[in-house]
């Protein structure tokens, strides 16, 4: 298990190299010269050339990339081109906000989504099933930014219950969590329903009933535990999606996390911030996948790592 974990962590390195290189490449071919954007359109050719040299933009992309990575491994993620602050230092302030948001959203999606899915499966083809499935479909069809704005309109503007932006108090977390959790909550309930229905029809669940088990025991101990493998996969994917989705939700709510940071940096082509953010998000997603794989082995005795 330990050897496997270390191996998987080492495998993260080529993944990050690949992703960051791709980001460098895409940003270098996308229109807009950062030097021009920084100095303004009235700047002279000479000023722009000097600025490009200062930022290292006169070098080929590959060289820029290698130079950046060589610094990055030493813990130097550079400084923001526009605002001048240290990227790593800024991360240390912002990351806890995003992680809190992602973890709480995931918990909400699990605590509400999975029982809803179980209930829908148990009452398959009856009213509760139809109602849950309807709302799950509605929720998964609604985009995060739209949900975010609707919540703002309703809960902040109309009712005035919750702040529309910022992260000043615990109340400010509620709307971002509600917008972020929507898709995963819907996904959890739909997937749990589907997998549980599969398992409920299986022979060993019938065996469990034939032994004289109570229906609740049959569902939780025999059926649900067997669909847990897929549920865990779903939670892993959902968590990664939420970290990605924070880009939108944090922007809508002007929430001081990694997501709003990244979306602002992409617009201004602030490469040190963009690449830094991508590295952080990739590491989070990579570790999530690893945890999911490790959990497989805990849940299912048939799964052997390696």
């Amino acid at each position: 298990m330990l050897k496997y974990t270390l191996k998987r962590l080492l495998l993260l390195i080529p993944v990050i190299i690949g992703i960051t290189f791709l980001v460098f490449l895409v940003l270098s071919v996308s229109p807009g010269d950062p030097a021009v954007m920084m100095l303004g359109v009235e700047a002279t050719e000479a000023d722009i050339a000097a600025k490009r040299a200062e930022l290292g933009l006169d070098q080929p992309v590959l060289i820029q990339y290698v130079q950046y990575m060589l610094k990055a491994v030493r813990g130097d993620f550079g400084k923001s081109w526009y605002q001048g602050f240290d990227v790593l230092n800024e991360f240390s302030h912002r990351l806890p906000y995003t992680l809190t948001l992602a973890v709480l959203s995931t918990i909400v999606a699990v605590v509400i989504g999975i029982p809803a899915g179980v209930y829908a499966a148990v009452r398959h083809n009856h009213m509760p099933d139809y109602i849950i499935t309807f709302f799950a479909l509605l929720l998964s069809a609604a985009p995060t930014f739209w949900l975010g704005m609707m919540y703002q309109l309703f809960f902040s503007l109309k009712l005035g219950w919750l702040p529309a932006s910022g992260a000043g108090s615990w109340k400010a977390f509620i709307l971002p969590i509600m917008s972020l959790t929507g898709g995963m909550l819907a996904g959890n309930s739909r997937m749990t329903r589907t997998w549980l229905l599969d398992v409920i029809r299986s022979d060993y669940v019938r065996t469990a009933r034939a032994k004289g088990n109570k229906e609740s025991v049959v569902i939780v101990k025999h059926a649900l535990r067997n669909s847990l493998l897929q549920v865990i996969t779903q939670i892993g994917v959902g968590f990664s999606n939420i970290v990605g989705g924070s880009l939108v939700a944090e922007t809508v709510y002007a929430f001081p996390g990694i997501g709003s940071f990244l979306s602002a940096a992409v617009k201004s082509k602030d490469i040190p911030i963009v690449v830094g953010c991508i590295i952080v998000v990739s590491v989070i997603v990579g570790i999530t996948n690893l945890v999911v794989d490790l959990l497989y082995a805990v849940v299912d005795p048939r799964v052997q790592l390696e």
């Binding site: 398959h124 083809n125 029809r201 299986s202 022979d203 060993y204 019938r206 065996t207 469990a208 009933r209 034939a210 032994k211 004289g212 088990n213 109570k214 025999h222 535990r225 067997n226 849940v299 299912d300 005795p301 048939r302």
Partner: protein
Amino acid sequence: MEKLLEIKNLYVNYKTDEAVVHALNGFTLDVYKGETLGLVGETGAGKTTMCLSTLRLLPEDIGEVVSGSIKYNDIDIMKASKNQMRQLRGAEISMIFQDPMTSLNPIMTVGEQIREVLDLHYPDMPPKKRDTRVDDIMKLVGILPERKDQYPHQFSGGMKQRIVIAMALVSEPKLLLADEPTTALDVTIQAQILELMKALKESFNSSMVLVTHDLGIVAEFCDNVAVVYAGSVIERGSIEQVFSRVKNHPYTDGLFNCIPDLTSEAKRLTPIPGYMADASNLPKGCKFADRCVRCREKCKETEPELQEVDKGHFIKCWYADERSGET
């Protein structure tokens, strides 16, 4: 002899999207105490449906008992409360399922799965004693008790079937419904498993319904036999009565003609012509009329009742006394 299970005129339907399937059509069967009854019939005849109805385990929203009654001792299965049914399942009536590969929970150790029955039905038994009981029953079915902490995927098919049997027998049930317990196994293991079940059944003095489509197994392991066709019992009698081939239902006759005979010179076997009646669109009269050599007008119009041709030998045919003639 005393009746243990009494099924009377049972009608069971399965509702599918396309049609209503009439799985049991006036199924009538008594099982006596201590009896080993072979239940024979082709696939889709309703053998498994009968077992599931007895435990009231028909798939919810799909399978439905339309009419008829099932009585176990003095308990009316159709009217029993959920709680009462739970007390019966696993403790009084056990079922051995057809497919050992899928009948065990893949993420529970086999020991846990056997013990679960005791945990449910003998909550007062000291835990130590329950563990010993699990060890004992595992030894009985020929699996080392040391392996009880292993999972189903670590066992072979034959061993899994023994575990399923151990699970069904650990509470020493009064009635054992064995639904083709050996179909999934190869022939050498079949005999071992059947011998084992017979021995266990005798030591616990239970009754057993052995569902199979193998007449050879019936002849060897059962006291009595009931033949099922299109959802009803068409012949019931002792092994001697049925296998002596003096009086038989024409369908039973047909089944016997499908068995190769070592002493005869016949070049080909004689199959029963046609297919089993479509359970979603059953004929009005005798369900076997279309394929029957004795069929006359009356058979197509009205369905015969089970009638006693000898003491304890019942045949559901208007012309039960006739011979179909051996071929």
